[in-house]
Amino acid sequence: MSTQHSRKANEFVKDTAVVDRHDATFWAVRSRRDTMAHEVPEWEDLREAASRIKKHTVTHLADYLEKFAANAGRNGVQVHWAKDADEYNAIVLEILRAHDVRKVVKSKSMLTEECGLNDSLIAHGIDVVETDLGERILQLLGVPPSHIVMPAIHITREQVLECFRAHGIIEKEGRKAADSMNGDLDKLVAEADPTFLTRCARYHLRDNFMTADCGMTGANFGIAATGEVVVCTNEGNADMSTSIPPLHIVSMGIEKLIPDYESMAVFQRLLARNGTGQPTTVYTSHFRRPRPGSEMHIILVDNGRSDILGNEDHWQTLKCMRCGACMNTCPVYRRSGGYSYSYFIPGPIGINLGMLRDSDKHYGNCSACSLCCSCDNVCPVKVDLSTQIYKWRQQLDSMHHADPMKKTMSEGMKVMFDHPGLYTAALRMAPLANHMPSWLTGIAMGPWCEAHDMPRFAKKSFHQLWKSGLDEK
């Protein structure tokens, strides 16, 4: 009965304090999102516009890609095309080698995660430094992100302190960090103060920005009309990564394209409000040309996206702009955590993207949905997330992933409901179960019986009551 997701979730829920904190954290983000949405009277117009702009763009993607690449080329940017993760990793490595790069500073990019770039670069002797604070913490801890926007939210301040200490960051930057806050070093360390820890990371990363040979960013949007990319951050790490080293590599999934500035305004207004409940990200940076004396490369990555476009039921996942709202609102995500999912993107969008990537590996995530449809209602580009999950579930049997116990029960129920005589007979017999010893009725029918007692059957069924005119109440 249990799936890969439910087994891992079982581990996560053992510590109820952790679950409560996780749940409350993301519910707070969801609430902030609602406040933001209610402050904009045209919110629903924006969502509808965003959905339709994306539908338009992805169904004219080849034309827009050609336009984008031509414009970027005219701007002096070198454009590359990668059909899959291997090709993408090879292109990055080739550019880095041509520039004799030893250290890369990177701002957060889900695409590089999707393609396994960091491992590939490290295997080739290149030092990769994540510069988003959350990503850096995870990199130093050697664990993957558990959320696409707030990747390290499940880590405690004490764990961060311990990790920074183990990597010598407290020893090297602690004094400077404490002085910058006019604080007492010992006290700040004892409290694992978040501001102090952030400052330590600030100075630690500053050193890396100064000495890196290349800055890498993702792209939140690509604008076809101008050939530029837009990167949105709160920390300013994408801007630090790209304004100091002499080389900038942008990694962009082909579905990130939008037509023009007019469309960009719609997405800019939705992204941060919907994702983290802020009116905007602190930085919305537009990169059109390489800095004087430096190079800029854009790698356009397909890696399965053109196949998704041909998938009748799931092509609309290409509209997703990775704001994270569907996981923030998801009751299953909030209570089971990012690591319960087998795909690196958790939550409703991750269930769908994982199935599209490799259904044999990720079908267990399909159970992580109660079909409450909350995700559909918060998605800023109206991806039909829950409908798509429902459709995957209908296909599990033909994929030979249907659960045998559920299947037997479904077949049994079908026999019973197809034969009214059998159904009525079973109902008459049911109250007898009330008199059976509990060891017989309490047989654990898998997870449904956990924390549930066997219900008592009524003496008379609704059918019988109805027929006797409801007079025997």
């Binding site: 904009v40 339709r52 604070l133 913490i137 501001t195 600030r202 300013g236 630090m240 537009h286």
Partner: protein, 185 residues
């Protein structure tokens, strides 16, 4: 490309974007409110006869190194003249000019009008000079007004760099400047 074209089942038109948008009767007032609350910036309204250098000095009395190429701003470092971007590290205050401000989210468009744009991010504190006449209500208006400079980079900036990556505690001063002062003239 052929696979992309071949896999399209049905095409969709670009939607009409002329729906009514949020506008503020008092754009400057709304901008100041958003900038000083959600964005976490300070705002100085420049008065007739105010000296810009004095305002900057008063806002950051302890600043040792000021970097700017804005005409009329006294600076120790000029981002047009430094040999490499790393030379700007250690800047206490950078002073830059914004061309469009947006009331709904306190974003200010900073076009790259200096050789080393690192000056906009590497400092401890950022001062942005903005004309109050250039404040619009929403991002639709802002995007219709901004211009990309010759150097090919521009950013909307709304307040100091921030993070909540450690236990959701809001901290100003992540990788870039720790504070922002907007001078409205």
């Amino acid at each position: 490309m052929s696979r992309l074209r071949g896999n399209v089942r049905e095409t969709y038109d670009m939607p009409d974007l002329s729906f009514a948008k949020l506008v503020y009767p008092d754009r400057v007032g709304a901008f100041i409110k958003t900038a000083t609350t959600a964005a976490g910036a300070s705002v100085i309204e420049m008065q007739e006869g105010d000296d810009i250098n004095e305002l900057i000095r008063r806002a950051y009395p302890n600043a040792k190194t000021i970097a700017s190429n804005v005409p009329g701003v006294k600076a120790d470092l000029n981002p047009d003249d430094v040999a490499k971007p790393q030379d700007l590290d250690g800047t206490d205050v950078s002073v830059v000019a914004g061309s469009v401000g947006c009331a709904e989210n306190a974003c200010i468009w900073i076009p790259q009008t200096m050789k080393q744009r690192a000056v906009c991010f590497i400092c401890e504190y950022l001062v942005i000079i903005l004309d109050r006449d250039n404040i619009v209500s929403n991002m639709h208006e802002a995007y219709s007004r901004i211009e990309m400079p010759e150097l090919g980079f521009g950013a909307f900036i709304s307040g100091p760099s921030k993070t909540a990556d450690i236990e959701q505690a809001l901290v100003y001063g992540a990788q870039s400047f720790c504070g922002v002062t907007i001078i409205l003239r």
